[in-house]
Point group: C2
Chain length 333, copies 2
Amino acid sequence: MSRKQETVRVTIVGFGYVGRGVAEVIKRKHDAIARKHGIDLTIVGIADLYGSIVNENGLSEEEIMNLRTGKNLKDISSRDVIKEVEHEVMVEATPTNVDNGEPGLTHVLTALESDRHVVTSNKGPIALEYKRVTELAAKRGKELRFEASVGGAMPIISLVRENLAGNGIISIEGILNGTCNYILTRMAEEKLPYEHVLKEAQGLGIAEADPSKDIEGIDTAVKLVILANSIFDMNTAYKEVEVTGITEITPEALKLADDEGYVIKLIGEVDRDGSLKVAPRLVPKGNPLNVGGTLNVATIKTDLAGEITVIGKGAGPIEAASAILSDIIGIYT
Amino acid sequence: MSRKQETVRVTIVGFGYVGRGVAEVIKRKHDAIARKHGIDLTIVGIADLYGSIVNENGLSEEEIMNLRTGKNLKDISSRDVIKEVEHEVMVEATPTNVDNGEPGLTHVLTALESDRHVVTSNKGPIALEYKRVTELAAKRGKELRFEASVGGAMPIISLVRENLAGNGIISIEGILNGTCNYILTRMAEEKLPYEHVLKEAQGLGIAEADPSKDIEGIDTAVKLVILANSIFDMNTAYKEVEVTGITEITPEALKLADDEGYVIKLIGEVDRDGSLKVAPRLVPKGNPLNVGGTLNVATIKTDLAGEITVIGKGAGPIEAASAILSDIIGIYT
């Protein structure tokens, strides 16, 4: 395509595994994106707890490496990078905090007030302060996109908003947490008890040292709230979701289900009447929601298209970066 | 959202089951689309083999009924409706002709030359003359969208182009024909021979009286060519696809597969190296491609997001209209 090249300057705030993934894919994909979409993506600043690096002409690989090794960092706060460095898109990739959304919330608000578009993988600000951040974005005429916050590489928010634009959405149900799915899949396959499989998952880096947010269903509830707010125009919070986790599920229950042609999955469901629920559910083996391993899946019930199901990898730095990159491109195309 | 209302005048060319579905959903969804997307969709002309109706202020339900009963039709050709009636979007919904693409091809070319956007469910022009129609659209600065031509309500073309925009696409494989999927699913479930299930499918309206295009894999090949041309920038035709249909599959083969944990599905696959193939394949039961009944499914292999699978209804007038409606909205949002 023969579009004019447009320079899009990006900052990355939060340089953990998602932020690094974003830097990595922008480098890897720079030329292909320029060719295909006419966008010249340039990273002009990266900010982390440990310091910041800034280069208005684009950060070199060496400069980015410095951030990882801690060399030659500048003592500029994330907020100042967002406010002072000239750029168009701020990528917010700090860890989710479901108590008060910080520091992500401050980053998002500061960026919008400074007239930057925002693309984020951070669930906190979207789950806790959806109305506030989207109203500010609308007021400033800026975009706020957060595909990476639900389902990682699996497109769901943009799928519903764009590809199913003509449809009324009746409900969404799915597996939104790969850790729980892995544990339940392994328990069923190997007939092993919960504690054993949890340890295995922790050893593989699939479950965190403190797995409570995943296994108690809180992570699923937070993602469900993001879908409720962004797709069903609700204004809800995760504490209002009825949540049951997977800690009480036994190999015997999985065996019983199996004998009857079912699997047990931790399903989050939201419908347009405002009901939100996270709980283990019996899923027929032939149902598209029956996906194994760490996969995520969502079935969207619509009034015209019927049921649409999408399956993809719910986690991983490159997968999250894929969603972030598509969000950035989506702002300009 | 408080967007300004924009009037979008639409003509529908071809008033079979898809065209009627489009008229039906535009009527049903008019107010919701105006509210949500700021678009005032107005059908100003419908043309069919039997005649046309035109009303620049928007056709009434009674006028649309006349087209179905043959009353009060005007003797204006489809081409003249496309050329002479003032409108922004021409919906081409005549039946697919895989020999020369007509009359769809002429409709699409005429509309683009008359500076209309085109949204179509017709596989012919896209599979046979992709380069010609897309180059004309680019030259006239008009949009040409055809999500409904592959997978019905299942989003795939826009999913790849928009939601996976940052990704390089490695391959796409899937079940793109609901008739074949229904026949193979029923044969496996009921251990019935091919001929028996085909008759059943014909009785249910799932297979046509002459089912050859479906069961010989031609319909799948045509859809595969649309994916190859539009997603992989190829310039290929369905006669270049290596095709094997499902007529030789026996209940015994399905039973053997079942014993080993597999199902047999008619899979179309295209990869970025230019290989295109349609053939029955063994699919592990746990694979996301294992969907039953008349469902369609596609797995998209990408370089960043990994594998994304989408499942949906591949046929039906309202389902096709859903894709057409989302395409129309996509032009304006």
